[in-house]
Amino acid sequence: MSNKKEREKRREERLAEEAKASSGDRRTRLLQIGAGAVFVAIIVVVVVIVIAGSSSDSGGDAENLQEVSQVDSLVQGIPQTKLVLGDTKAPVELIEYGDLQCPVCKAYSEEILPPIVEKQVKEGKAKIIFRNFLIIGPESLPAGAAAIAAGNQGRGWNFLELFYRNQGKENGGYVTDDFIEAVAKGAGVKDIAKFNQERTSKAVEEEANRTTEQAETLGFGGTPSFAIKGPNSNGLELLGTPESSGELEEEIEKVS
């Protein structure tokens, strides 16, 4: 009798051990799957962030224009005539010779010029005139010509600012008709047919080439280069490439 009881007891213990072991196995398996999932998730997040980090640096994406609303709010309410931003009667004129393909011009448009636009230009003290200085390469002309055509519809500075914010790699082949049209639409150019016709016209191309020669005649060798003229300036004064908003502001104050 007692033998039988003992056997039963041992059998029960064995079954309990086995159940415990199988539960332990399952637990180990589940934790392995969980750890594997964490490992995969880390890799996916890192890869996606690396791809996202490198993709938008390339810019020039007609399908995915960035910062349309920021550009709108920067120049909203400021009068524009051709490529002149600000009141045409403003006493000081600050002339920027720039190339839409140039990354330094992009940095100026994003960091150095906005405080001037917000203050001196909005207050009617100064106007900024953009002139094409085509030096980077063959794609500079279609870009610059398009800016002139946008300027003819009063959206020149919207176009310049939006182009810079979506600028691609120099001579990287991104300045296509699609890209130019997307930027024009984002900049609020109303008559796209007229815009397309004008930007490829001889007159507009000649204007872009003429201002390039002008910059060379003035002795500028790189973009952006600035010149200033005001009531207290000695004719047209060459500023070269000032390093900060503060420096430009001082120059404006000096000649006004």
């Binding site: 309990a16 159940a19 415990k20 539960s23 332990g24 196995d25 399952r26 637990r27 180990t28 589940l30 934790l31 799957i33 969980g34 999932a37 964490v38 998730a41 880390i42 996916v44 997040v45 996606v48 962030i49 996202a52 980090g53 938008s56 995915n64 224009l65 960035q66 609303s69 920021q70």
Partner: protein, 163 residues
């Protein structure tokens, strides 16, 4: 460190998931009305984020994915099985990873912060921690799916039920 009882973990998971559903639903409704979520402290962060090209995937507002994720997590709190523990952990892990990516976009790409998105990211992080604790603490402590519709001993210690 003592692991909280599974019942308490499930209550916390349900509560946080319900908050998450609320936040994600608010973002979706505010966006679908043509506007954008309102930032509590003013500012245009939410508008900038909502108008950015990153706010939609294939035309679908990403907050919809948030609602789906939180609803799954909410449902998971009502079931006890290893499949549910692992599944909920996977959903929370995916949501957590996605939140890291979205926060990265806000800081480095869009350069604007939307409090509602941050709130969702924080809730998803808590979900991840709760579900990781649930999986590590209770995986293998009961039968397969359907074996226990609810735990009868809500405050039992983990791995103490084999006796």
């Amino acid at each position: 460190m003592r692991i909280p009882s599974e019942a308490n973990l499930r209550r916390a998971i349900a509560f946080i998931a319900a908050l998450g559903v609320g936040v994600a639903t608010y973002i979706t409704i505010a966006d679908s009305g043509g506007g954008s979520p309102t930032c509590l402290a003013g500012g245009h962060g939410c508008q900038t984020v909502a108008e950015s090209s990153y706010s939609h995937i294939a035309g679908v507002n990403i907050a919809i994915f948030g609602i789906a994720g939180y609803l799954l997590l909410l449902a998971s709190a009502f079931f006890v099985s290893d499949y549910v523990r692992l599944g909920a952990f996977a959903v929370a892990l995916g949501g957590f990873g996605f939140s890291i990516y979205l926060t990265y976009l806000e800081i480095f790409k869009i350069e604007a912060i939307c409090q509602w998105c941050v709130a969702s990211a924080v809730l998803m992080t808590i979900q991840f921690l709760l579900n990781a604790t649930r999986l590590v603490g209770y995986a293998g402590t009961d039968g397969d799916a359907g074996n226990g519709a609810d735990d009868r001993e809500p405050d039992r210690e983990p791995e103490a039920s084999t006796a």
